[in-house]
C-alpha cells in the first residue's frame, strides 16, 4: 500500500512536469535531447502506472532464489540503499535535464554579464556569463554519465576479451597477453590518456577512447582469474565432450558465470572514469567549453575562486556525490553478489 501511495505521488509529479513541457512550452520532439527526454518520461510514466495498477508484475522475479538472496544481502547495507536512491535521482536528472532545468545551460544573459550569488531565481548562482549554474550542473550529469559509461563499456569489452583469451588458452598465450597488459599498465593511466589526447586531439570521442583503453588490467586480471577457476569445472568438460566450440564455451558458459564480479568491478570503474574525465576536462583537455561539464566548470570556477566560490563548489559537489554513489553501490553489490574479494 505504501509503495502504491509513493508511486502515485511520483506519477502526479511526473505528469505535471510533462504537462508543463509538452503542452505549455511545446517541448516534445524538436531536438535530439528533447526526444530522449520525451521517450524517457513516457517510460517512467508507464513504469509507475504498472507498479500502481499491476503490482504482481515483478512476482516472478521476486520468487527467484538468487534474486531473493541478493536482495536480502543488499538490504542490510544502508550505504548501498542510499547510493541506489541517489543514482536513480542522478539518472533521472541526466535524462530529464531539458525538462527540469529552469534555464538553458548555454544561454548567455547579456543583462547580467556578471556572476551573482545563489538566490531564489538561480539556486546555485550564475557564472561569469550569467548562465544558471543549476542548469549547467544538471546538463553536466548527462555528459559525465554518458562518457563514464561509454568509457567503461569500451574498457570492459577490451579487458574481458583479453582476460578470457588469456585464461582459457593458458600457457604461452596467457603469458604474452598478461605481460603486454602489465606493460600497458606501467604507464599511469591519466598520463596514457594524456598522451592519447595529445596525439588524437581534443574532443568527446577521443576522450572516450583515451579513458576507455587505459587501465585494462583490472578487467583482464579479474576475468582471467575467474576463467582459471571455472575452466576446471565438470560442466565445461561436458560441454567440450558434446563438441562445443571454444567461442561457444567462452560466451555461453564462462562469461555468464563471471558476470556478477564483472558488474561489481564495472560499477567501481565508472566512478574512477568520471573522476578521470572530470580531471582531464579541468585541465582543458577533455570536454571543451561551452558544453556544460563539471570539470570544465571547475576550471572556469578556479579563476573566480575568491569572488565567486559557488562557481566551483556546486560542480565539485556534483562530482563527489555521483562518484560516492557509484563507489557505495559497488561496495554494496560486492557484499551482496560476490564472495570473491576484488582489489
Amino acid at each position: 500500500m505504501k509503495k502504491k501511495v509513493i508511486s502515485s505521488i511520483f506519477l502526479i509529479i511526473q505528469l505535471y512536469i510533462n504537462y508543463q513541457n509538452w503542452i505549455v512550452k511545446n517541448k516534445i520532439w524538436n531536438s535530439l535531447e528533447l526526444k530522449a527526454a520525451t521517450l524517457f518520461s513516457v517510460f517512467v510514466i508507464l513504469l509507475l502506472m504498472l507498479i500502481i495498477f499491476k503490482s504482481d508484475l515483478f512476482s516472478s522475479v521476486k520468487e527467484n532464489d538468487l534474486f531473493q538472496k541478493t536482495w536480502k544481502e543488499f538490504n542490510k547495507n544502508l550505504g548501498g540503499k542510499i547510493a541506489a536512491v541517489m543514482l536513480l535521482c542522478i539518472f533521472y536528472a541526466a535524462f530529464m535535464a531539458p525538462f527540469i532545468a529552469p534555464y538553458s545551460p548555454l544561454e548567455i544573459d547579456y543583462s547580467n554579464m556578471n556572476y551573482s550569488p545563489p538566490s531564489a531565481a538561480h539556486w546555485f548562482g550564475t557564472d561569469d556569463f550569467g548562465r544558471d549554474i543549476f542548469s549547467r550542473v544538471l546538463y553536466g550529469t548527462r555528459i559525465a554519465l554518458g562518457i563514464g559509461f561509454s568509457a567503461v563499456f569500451l574498457n570492459a569489452l577490451l579487458g574481458i576479451t583479453l582476460g578470457l583469451l588469456a585464461g582459457y588458452y593458458g600457457g604461452k598465450t596467457d603469458m604474452i597477453i598478461m605481460r603486454l597488459v602489465e606493460i600497458w599498465n606501467s604507464i599511469p593511466f591519466i598520463l596514457l590518456a594524456l598522451a592519447i589526447i595529445a596525439a588524437l586531439g581534443k574532443g568527446m570521442l577521443n576522450l572516450i577512447i583515451a579513458v576507455g583503453v587505459t587501465g585494462l588490467i583490472n578487467f583482464s586480471r579479474l576475468t582471467r582469474s575467474i576463467v582459471l577457476q571455472i575452466k576446471e569445472k565438470e560442466y565445461i568438460a561436458a560441454a567440450k565432450a558434446l563438441g562445443s566450440s571454444d567461442i561457444r564455451i567462452l560466451y555461453k558458459h564462462i562469461l555468464p558465470n563471471s558476470i556478477s564480479s564483472l558488474i561489481v568491478l564495472g560499477t567501481l570503474r565508472i566512478g574512477i572514469s568520471i573522476l578521470v574525465v572530470a580531471g582531464l576536462s579541468f585541465l582543458g583537455l577533455g570536454i571543451q567549453p561551452p558544453t556544460p561539464s563539471w570539470g570544465t566548470m571547475l576550471n572556469r570556477g578556479q579563476e573566480f575562486l575568491t569572488s565567486a566560490p559557488w562557481m566551483s563548489i556546486f560542480p565539485g559537489l556534483a562530482i563527489i556525490i555521483t562518484v560516492l554513489s557509484f563507489n557505495l553501490l559497488g561496495d554494496a553489490l560486492r557484499d551482496a553478489l560476490d564472495p570473491r574479494q576484488l582489489d
Binding site: I187, I190, L191, L194, A198, S312, V323
Partner: protein
C-alpha cells in the same frame, strides 16, 4: 629472496622498452608531417631536410624509434614551444615533482596507517565511524577539487599558506609553506584508500587463531597488535599503496596545475595544450619511468616483508 630480486630487476628492462615503444607508437598517430610540426612557424625546406635526416622520419618504424630515443638522451630533441632541449626542460622541473610526490607519500603513510589501525582496534567506536565515513567520502573526491577547497580555506579565507607557486627547496621556510597545501591535497586520496584498507586488513588478521594464542600466553595487548597483527597486515597494505601510486601520479598532474607547481606534470599538460609533441613524449616518458621505478621499490619492499614469496 635473492632470485626474486633478480627476477624483478630484470623485468624492468622489457617494461621500460615497452613503455617507450607504446608512447612512441601513440605519437605516430599525430596527423600531418612530423618534421613540419616540429619546426612550427620557422619552416624552411632545408630545415625539414635536416630534421628528416636527424630523426629519420622517412625510415621504417624501428629506426625512427631508435633515433628518437638517441636524440632524446643526447639532448638533441628540442621542444617546439620552449626552443630548448627537452631533457633540460624536464631536468629543471623534475626536482619539484619528486619533492611534492615524496612529501605527500610520507604524509599519507603517517596519517593513514595509524588511523586504520586505531579504527580496527576500536571497531565501531566513534573514532572508527567518523574516520571511515570521512575516508569513504575521501576516495570519491577528485584531487583537484580538494586542492581548490584548500586554496579557498587556507589561502583566501584564513590566509595561512600561499595559494600557488614554488617557494624554493623544502628546508627553507618559504619553500615548506608553499609545499604544504599541494602535498596535503595530493595525499588525500591515498590517505582515504589506505586507511580503509588498513582497517579491513587488520580486522581480517585479528580474527586469526595465533592472536588468541599470543594473548593467552600473556603477551601485552600492544605487542599483540603491533607485532603479531600489524606485521601481517602490512602485506595487503603495501600492495594497495602500490596500486594507488598510479592514481597519485595522475593526481600530481592535476595538483601541479591547480597550485601552479613547476613540475613535470604541469609541463606535460602545457605540452599537450601547445601541441608540442617532443615535449609530450619526453615528459610522459620520464614520469612513466619514475612510476615504474617506484613500483619496483614497492615490489621489492613487498618481497622483503612477505617471506612467502621466496617459495614461489
Amino acid at each position: 629472496m635473492f632470485a626474486y630480486i633478480i627476477k624483478r630487476l630484470l623485468w624492468i628492462i622489457p617494461v621500460l622498452i615497452g613503455v617507450s615503444l607504446i608512447l612512441f607508437g601513440i605519437m605516430q598517430l599525430v596527423p600531418g608531417d612530423p618534421a613540419s610540426i616540429m619546426l612550427g612557424t620557422n619552416i624552411t625546406p632545408e630545415a625539414v631536410k635536416a630534421l628528416n635526416a636527424k630523426f629519420g622520419f622517412n625510415e621504417p618504424f624501428h629506426i625512427r624509434y631508435f633515433l628518437m630515443l638517441k636524440n632524446f638522451l643526447n639532448g638533441e630533441l628540442e621542444s617546439i614551444y620552449y626552443k630548448d632541449q627537452v631533457i633540460n626542460i624536464i631536468g629543471n622541473r623534475l626536482y619539484a615533482t619528486i619533492e611534492l610526490g615524496t612529501l605527500s607519500l610520507i604524509i599519507a603513510v603517517i596519517i593513514a596507517i595509524p588511523t586504520g589501525v586505531i579504527a580496527a582496534v576500536k571497531k565501531n567506536s566513534v573514532f572508527d565511524l567518523i574516520s571511515m565515513f570521512i575516508a569513504t567520502i575521501g576516495i570519491s573526491v577528485p584531487a583537484f577539487f580538494t586542492g581548490i577547497i584548500f586554496i579557498y580555506l587556507f589561502s583566501v579565507y584564513f590566509k595561512i599558506f600561499p595559494s600557488s607557486g614554488y617557494g624554493g627547496p623544502f628546508w627553507t621556510a618559504e619553500g615548506i609553506s608553499h609545499l604544504i597545501l599541494p602535498a596535503f591535497a595530493l595525499s588525500t586520496v591515498m590517505i582515504a584508500s589506505t586507511s580503509r584498507l588498513t582497517r579491513s586488513a587488520m580486522l581480517d588478521i585479528m580474527k586469526e587463531d595465533y592472536l588468541v594464542t599470543a594473548r593467552s600466553k600473556g603477551v601485552k595487548e600492544k605487542t599483540v597488535i603491533l607485532k603479531h597483527a600489524f606485521r601481517n597486515a602490512l602485506i595487503p597494505i603495501i600492495t594497495n599503496i602500490g596500486n594507488q601510486l598510479a592514481m597519485m601520479f595522475g593526481g600530481a598532474i592535476l595538483i601541479e596545475s591547480v597550485f601552479a607547481w613547476p613540475g613535470v606534470g604541469r609541463l606535460a599538460v602545457k605540452a599537450v595544450e601547445f601541441r608540442d609533441q617532443p615535449l609530450v613524449f619526453g615528459s610522459i616518458l620520464i614520469l612513466s619511468f619514475i612510476y615504474v621505478l617506484v613500483n619496483l621499490l614497492v615490489d621489492l619492499l613487498y618481497g622483503f616483508i612477505n617471506p612467502k614469496i621466496t617459495y614461489n
